[in-house]
């Protein structure tokens, strides 16, 4: 049971990591040349 | 009398006579104070002949012979 818990946790961490990398890549592509908090949309 | 700044011996000074216009690399030198009529002096040369250090308007700059050769000078 204990080992089972660890396997699930490890896989969850990996999935979250992959997801974060993908989110980062997509976010960058969406707004070229414009950082997060700048007011270029106004 | 040497014809260009590149030939001016260390320790001597001269007046800038003319510089070709319209060259962007020379525009920056102009903006650093080297314009026709300005007094320049050569402070030293690097051990291997280049670059040279000059004094213009009390400021010290260095440049290579390639640029200095564009700057025509006359006796101070």
């Amino acid at each position: 049971m204990n080992e089972n818990w660890q396997s699930i946790a490890a896989i969850a961490v990996i999935i979250v990591t992959v997801a974060l990398f993908i989110v980062r890549a997509v976010k960058r592509r969406k707004k070229p040349g414009c950082g997060g908090s700048c007011g270029c949309g106004k | 009398m040497p014809a260009t700044l590149a030939e001016l011996p260390v320790g001597s000074s001269a007046i800038v006579q003319a510089m070709p216009t319209g060259r962007s690399c020379l525009t920056r030198l102009r903006e650093m104070g080297i314009v026709p009529g300005t007094r320049v002096s050569v402070t030293r040369r690097a051990p291997l002949g280049e670059p040279i250090e000059i004094c213009v308007r009390g400021s010290h700059l260095s440049m290579r012979n390639h640029e200095a050769a564009f700057i025509a000078i006359s006796a101070a």
Partner: protein, 694 residues
């Protein structure tokens, strides 16, 4: 942006490079500053907060140093664009603090006059008054205020002298626009500029309210990055520029001369200086530090000190960091029972992050050292001495230090290339920097040299000789590629090397430490995010899919990493490598020294500590192929060593190059050319060697 922030006045700090502008900014804002990049360019954007002498909150922005608003580099373009209010993410400053190096007063006035023409309320700061006093230059501040119509404050940013007066001036709300307002334009040029402005306004390229300065800088700048101007307009601007050049040949140069004529008039009224230059500390020091022989001796001493600091002194803290992470791993090991999650932390995250953070002491020392050299003025002398040698491969003297730093680690080397103002030289320096054999290659070199010449067989001298050869090979490769890129890849115009030789001064330690801290924080944030993520993924690649047994070597073979090793085997077989080496190569892409630990896993070598290479070395030396031949023949070892000299195998460097060049293009180009060269050379060595019967 909150409403409160919008009400706080934004004050821009501008000035020539070496005017002590950033020191003043750091003195005023302290830790209350934010460092980011301007979008689209790799120019640091520094905004901070401070309070005026009357307790009013102010926002300060430290703009890049420049010699002119006629931009010649991305840094200068940012300055111009912010002052003209052309950058959408940065509001146009409400007021300007113009910092002047008093000891170079006349030259500094050039940009001052351009800034004054913008018509913004301006405070003139005469900084480095102590250096000017050494030269016996006396500036009449009252007269200057009278003529220019702006408050003038004398300061010494290193000692803090004049800071209160500056804060008092910052409190003033009644600063009237400067008197020096008209650009001295000849009638014909003025008319032509007016015409161009009308045309650009109609096309919507510029503001309807813009002054003549806007078309002036648009038409006279040779920097292609005009922020906020649509690409479609750039073609038209080029046409207008050539028409101006046609109608008024040399108009830009005439404007410069006219500006200096007016500056001379001004100097005659406010500046008193001796006819002959008097002996100062700077002239005395330069006689030694730039002496043909003593200059070189001193240079070697300085570099020797640098290497001693980053290799010897940094060793202690690096050991502590390593031990600290080791303890962390052990602590986790005791806390959680055996399982995947514990394995992920102990064998993935902890060693992965520790392998990068371990370079922190070297990075701190390096940036502190660079900070001292820049602040004292020695950096320009270093560039002066090294320029001749660097010019032979098409670089300039300023490329020397970033390249040298890369022998410790390419990451700070690439970051240090920011000090090079020519964009082309900077890019080439970044591209070649990772060819310097960094300290992460050292463990791999040691291991393979050990396999090549087992102890006892040949003396330590031969081993040291090979090590030296590998370092030389990388250095030679770097110079060769610099020459190639300069000659064939980036033809473009060679930018002139114009180097200012500032007066020597005491370093402002607080300001330098602040900058070191900013770099360190950036590095740690990266280690905590991207490097952490990559470590997790690499662990996953060598763990899944799982085998039933407990045999770690079997597990490695079965995993994604093992399969990838087998997948690339046909590609690396001509170099003499088998799939096990393939796994090591793949692992090295996280960091080169990972090769050693990966190989330990692959060959199931139990080693108590990483420092002791002997068990792994003996295992490698004895390893045989299925047909009974040795895997690590001398030829394979040499092929592998050469591969490590040239290949780009460092994710962190790739990421930092992407950041510093602003695009993936150059990062990928670098990955391609370096790894391609490595492959080609190793292929040649192995194939020719095999054909010769080695």
């Amino acid at each position: 942006m909150s409403a409160a922030a919008a009400e706080t006045p934004l004050i821009a700090i501008v000035g020539n490079p070496n005017s002590g502008k950033t020191t003043l900014f750091n003195l005023l804002t302290g830790l209350k500053q934010k460092v980011a990049n301007y979008p689209g360019v790799t120019v640091e954007k520094k905004i901070g907060e401070c309070y005026s002498q009357h307790g009013k909150k102010l926002r300060l922005i430290d703009l890049p140093g420049a010699y002119s608003l006629n931009a010649r580099s991305p840094d200068e373009a940012v300055l111009r664009d912010v002052l003209l209010g052309r950058r959408p993410e940065t509001p146009r400053p409400d007021r300007v603090v113009c910092v002047v190096d008093s000891a170079n007063f006349e030259r500094n006035l050039y940009m001052v006059s351009q800034v004054l023409e913008l018509g913004l309320p301006t405070i003139l700061v005469l900084n480095m008054v102590d250096v000017a006093e050494q030269r016996e230059w006396r500036i009449d501040a009252a007269k200057l205020t009278e003529i220019l119509g702006v408050p003038v404050v004398k300061t010494n940013a290193v000692s803090g002298q004049g800071l209160i007066e500056l804060k008092l001036a910052l409190s003033r709300e009644d600063i009237s626009p400067p008197k020096w307002q008209d650009a001295a334009l000849p009638e014909g040029v003025k008319a032509a500029l007016e015409h161009s402005r009308d045309e650009m306004r109609q096309a919507g390229a510029i503001h309807t309210r813009s002054s003549l300065l806007e078309p002036l800088y648009l038409l006279s700048d040779h920097d292609p990055t005009h922020y906020g101007i649509a690409d479609t307009q750039i073609g038209r601007i080029h046409e207008l520029r050539s028409r101006m050049e046609n109608d008024f040949p040399g108009w830009e140069d005439a404007l410069v001369a006219e500006r200096y004529r007016r500056i001379e008039e001004l100097c005659a009224q406010v500046l008193k200086r001796p006819d002959q230059e008097i002996e100062t500390i700077t002239t005395k020091l330069d006689r030694i530090l730039l002496h043909p022989v003593l200059g070189f001796v001193n240079l070697l001493l300085v570099l020797g000190l640098l290497f001693f600091l980053i290799f010897k002194v940094a060793e202690g803290p690096m050991g502590w960091i390593e031990a600290g992470f080791g303890q962390l791993g052990a602590w986790v090991e005791g806390l959680i029972s055996p399982g995947d999650f514990r394995d992920l932390i102990v064998n993935g995250v902890v060693p992965g992050v520790s392998g990068v953070v371990i370079f922190l002491p070297q990075i701190l020392i390096l940036f502190f050292f660079i900070g001292i050299m820049e602040d004292t003025g020695y950096m320009s002398r270093l560039a002066f001495i090294m320029d001749w040698a660097m010019s032979k491969v098409g670089l300039n003297g300023k490329s020397f230090l970033p390249f040298l730093s890369s022998y410790a680690c390419a990451i700070p080397g690439v970051m240090a290339a920011r000090t090079i103002d020519s964009p082309k030289d900077r890019l080439i320096t970044i591209l070649i920097a990772p060819l310097a054999s960094c300290s992460a290659r050292l463990p791999v070199y040691s291991l393979l040299i050990g396999v090549l010449f087992p102890v006892g067989e040949v003396g330590a001298f031969v081993q040291a000789g090979i090590m030296l050869g590998l370092y030389s090979l990388g250095t030679f490769g770097a110079f060769f590629f610099a020459w190639v890129f300069n000659k064939f890849v980036m033809k473009g115009s060679a930018s002139p090397m114009i180097l200012e030789m500032p007066s020597y001064k005491m370093p402002a330690l607080k300001s330098i430490l602040l900058q070191v801290w900013q770099r360190a924080r950036m590095f740690l944030v990266r280690a905590g995010t991207i490097i952490l993520g990559i470590s997790i993924l690499i662990w996953a690649a060598s763990t899944y899919p799982k085998t039933a047994g407990d045999d770690s070597a079997k597990q490695m073979e079965h995993s994604f990493a093992g399969r990838a090793g087998k997948l690339i085997e046909p590609v690396i077989a001509p170099l003499g490598y088998d799939w096990k080496i393939g796994i090591g190569l793949i692992g090295s892409f996280a960091a080169r020294e990972v090769f050693n630990s990966t190989m330990s896993v692959v060959y199931a070598v139990e080693s108590e500590d990483d420092e002791n290479l002997a068990p792994l070395r003996d295992k490698l030396a004895a390893e045989r192929r299925p047909d009974g031949r040795l895997v690590y023949t001398p030829l394979v070892c040499i092929s592998l060593l050469v591969f490590y000299v040239f290949a780009m195998q460092c994710v962190s460097t790739i990421a930092i190059v992407k950041r510093e060049t602003g695009s993936w293009k150059w990062a990928m180009f670098q990955l391609g050319y370096m790894t391609g060269t490595a492959y080609l050379l190793s292929l040649l060595i192995f194939q020719i060697g095999s054909a010769l019967g080695y």
